[in-house]
Subunit: 119 residues, 2 copies
């Protein structure tokens, strides 16, 4: 069975669909599939909150321990959401000691935004 999470180590799929303005010409099947995968990663309340918390932290990075309590979900669930966001290219992960720090990929949201509206 092929699950979405198998693309985890692709290190971000946001940039792969490039410069195809949604409103200008019809999307191909592949373009639509790619963009849908990226948007699906964003289309969840918990992930949106996690992303916004990371984005508004100093250095635009935060460790998992600081994210669990604000979103009010279990640690495995938070870990899962962070993995999805990372696989989609919105976050990067770096481990320092026992802690895992997730940092925002600044251009990622902008690229999605550019795909929706014209470039």
């Amino acid at each position: 069975m092929v699950t979405m999470l198998e693309v985890t180590d692709i290190t971000g799929a946001v940039g792969e669909v490039c410069c195809a303005p949604l409103v200008k010409e019809p999307l191909s099947q592949q373009e639509a599939d790619q963009l849908a995968v990226t948007l699906k990663a964003l289309a969840d309340p918990a992930r949106l909150r996690l992303l916004s918390i990371v984005a508004s932290s100093e250095g635009q990075e935060a460790c998992v321990c600081d994210l669990i309590e604000p979103v009010g979900l279990s640690q495995p669930t938070v870990s899962h959401h962070l993995k999805v966001l990372t696989a989609a290219g919105f976050l990067t992960r770096s481990k320092r000691g026992t802690w895992a720090y997730y940092r925002l990929v600044p251009e990622a949201l902008g690229q999605v935004s550019a795909l929706l509206v014209g470039a």
Copy 2:
């Protein structure tokens, strides 16, 4: 059972979450829920293709009969997706004779885009 489609006649939820830059400050639970609903409407290959076909038609509108064959799905399924897009505020529906024409709401995508990146 409460389904997502019961909000069909809300005539668009895109504008309701206003001016909350995702990257500036953490989203509240309600803001995240709203934005997630809107993004979920977008996060499907078939709907993205339908939206882009409508958007790139003359007058940015198209009737259902012209949409079925390009996306390669059954008529009920296309109808369903158009309803979701309309409920989310990306399309409007107007019936002329036997035909139903769906037209792009031009500002809708821009508002979502503005929510993702800074205003």
